[in-house]
Symmetry: C2
Subunit: 336 residues, 2 copies
């Protein structure tokens, strides 16, 4: 099934079931008022939402037209947002651009940062930018939402706790990252509010594209209206999303509604080298930092600038029939 949270003036929005083709929705707030409320009692609530989803497909429920711009992030605020770094190609490029090695442990022990989760942006909200020198960048990623996950869960058991899947734009302020990482406590000001796709879906909606807890489909990232990234989220994923959930729960439980992200989706070139841009026949990039690294590796310095007022990003994923699965994140940078 596909779920969304519509704007209704409240902090957590209104839960709706969306048709598989994203054309219409049926209110679900008589089952659970919000997606968080549904996740808090998922074992009881999910079957009722599934039944409603079936009715929506069979046109047996009262539906209205679904507009993606009426949707908020599926969880407009959440209790947990942690972002991994499953695509080591991305990490390798960062390190290569500054002439450093990737530690051997990075191939078995996931990188993960604790994100802030109190003020997510809606998928069509502008990205507020205080200063262009902050180096605003998008990061196109996949994320999962879990139910309650016990402390110390194994990767295998973690897979069963993945209840919903969505896309994310993990907005990053590259200009603030070096200073924060030098302080040693990780990201804080350099990771402002993220935005998630208009719709989240249960794993079964992905069919055979959901294998081994990753999605074997291209993540389509457009920048200022042009194809920028087409990397396949199932390829070059060093860690599955279940592994990242297990990592997050090593020393504490995760509460229902926890969101765990994949990190920036990134594929190697066919030759095993750094990828080519989309307009040169490559799979491109899911963030600007990556093309800047490749420019640095190839030419000694980056050419592409980070985002400024008026720049736009679009992040979407389409199935084998070219139908949008999650709807599109579409955001424009605005100065504040």
């Amino acid at each position: 099934m596909k779920l969304a949270t519509l704007k209704n003036g409240s902090r957590d929005g209104r839960l709706v079931v969306v048709s598989k083709d994203l054309t219409c929705y049926c209110a679900a707030d008589n089952i659970a008022p919000t997606l968080q409320a549904a996740l808090d009692d998922w074992a009881n609530i999910a079957p009722k939402l599934q039944a409603l989803s079936l009715d929506v497909e069979n046109q047996a429920a009262p539906c209205e037209r679904f507009h993606e711009h009426d949707a908020r992030s599926p969880l407009p605020r959440s209790y947990q947002w942690a972002d991994g770094s499953a695509y080591i190609n991305h990490v390798e490029l960062v390190r290569k651009a500054r002439g450093a090695e990737v530690p051997e442990s990075f191939y078995s022990d996931p990188l993960m940062y604790q994100g802030g989760s109190d003020s997510f942006l809606a998928p069509r909200d502008p990205i507020p930018l205080g200063d262009v020198s902050w180096g605003c960048d998008m990061e196109g990623e996949v994320a999962v939402i879990t139910d309650d996950v016990p402390m110390g869960v194994s990767e295998e058991a973690a897979a069963d706790h993945i209840k919903l899947i969505m896309l994310v734009n993990d907005v990053s302020l590259r200009g603030l990252i070096p200073g924060e990482l030098a302080k040693g406590f990780g990201f804080f000001q350099s990771k402002p509010s993220s935005a998630f796709s208009p719709v989240c879906v249960t794993p079964d909606e992905l069919g055979e594209a959901w294998q081994d807890n990753v999605i074997f489909l291209p993540l389509m990232v457009d920048y200022n209206g042009e194809a920028f990234g087409r990397a396949n989220a199932g390829v070059d994923a060093t860690f599955s999303l279940a592994k990242l959930v297990s990592h997050a729960a090593k020393t504490r439980p995760l509460a229902a509604g926890a969101i765990i992200g994949s990190g920036t989706v990134s594929n190697q070139d066919e030759s095993g080298g750094p990828g080519k841009p989309c307009n040169e026949g490559g799979l491109g990039y899911s963030c600007i930092a990556e093309i800047r690294m490749i420019e640095t590796i190839n030419h000694g310095a980056p050419k592409t600038s980070f985002m400024k007022q008026g720049d736009t990003v679009r992040i979407e994923m389409r199935d084998a029939e070219n139908h949008s699965i999650f709807g599109a994140i579409e955001q424009e940078v605005v100065g504040v």
Copy 2:
């Protein structure tokens, strides 16, 4: 006024108003079901809670006996928990113990890490420890709860957004910190679930002890039944709690119910040197790591071990009349 959240089998507990002497409470869930709900509409709800608080003091409301062990953390789960490091003495000791300098910027630009907020412990809950080699430690701190804070708020304006104050045990796994910090993304597994004091209070409850957005009272930390720390939370605070709120909101807003912590309370010795233990007439320490650093500085190696199964910590703050303000955090380490 003083507020608490009582256990009632739900995820967010039940909001109650507690008498100033912590002996009795009156249910407040007819005003707002939970503390988060109250914070979501604080301007409207706070006056009603204040009126009920007055009735409780005047014995004009139906009260029941308040037991601290029935309380959960005031926000059993929250949307934001960020912890600063206001007491640079603590940072100076860490660095001195390993022969490193404190960067000049640390005296103007606060250290802050993004914490996880989905699974706080109750103030009398055991601390679950998976492995003694994880190096379990307490950190006694002060924390504030804000209403909605706009992005880019000044330190001065941030002060008005501090609505409630409480204590926190920011549990840390010292054995996991070096590995995580070496990876560069900050704390994650090394910062498991924290616990907060049974009661949170509005700033006016602190009287003259609340000055310049810090609390001028000793934080009483007992370890295994003995005085371990008596550092004054108003002394040697390089940054006020308002400054930390402003820092947290530089690049994004904070949502109502955001919790911002002070970092481990730590005082210099009268001589300006590293502090003496309580049993030698000093003010002691609010975490074990600090006494280990001083042992390292003085003797070349630490003597005191981190916490193991059965070890207990108690964190409390008392007013000038020796009355407990927030109730006590009392936790025992248990193996899991």
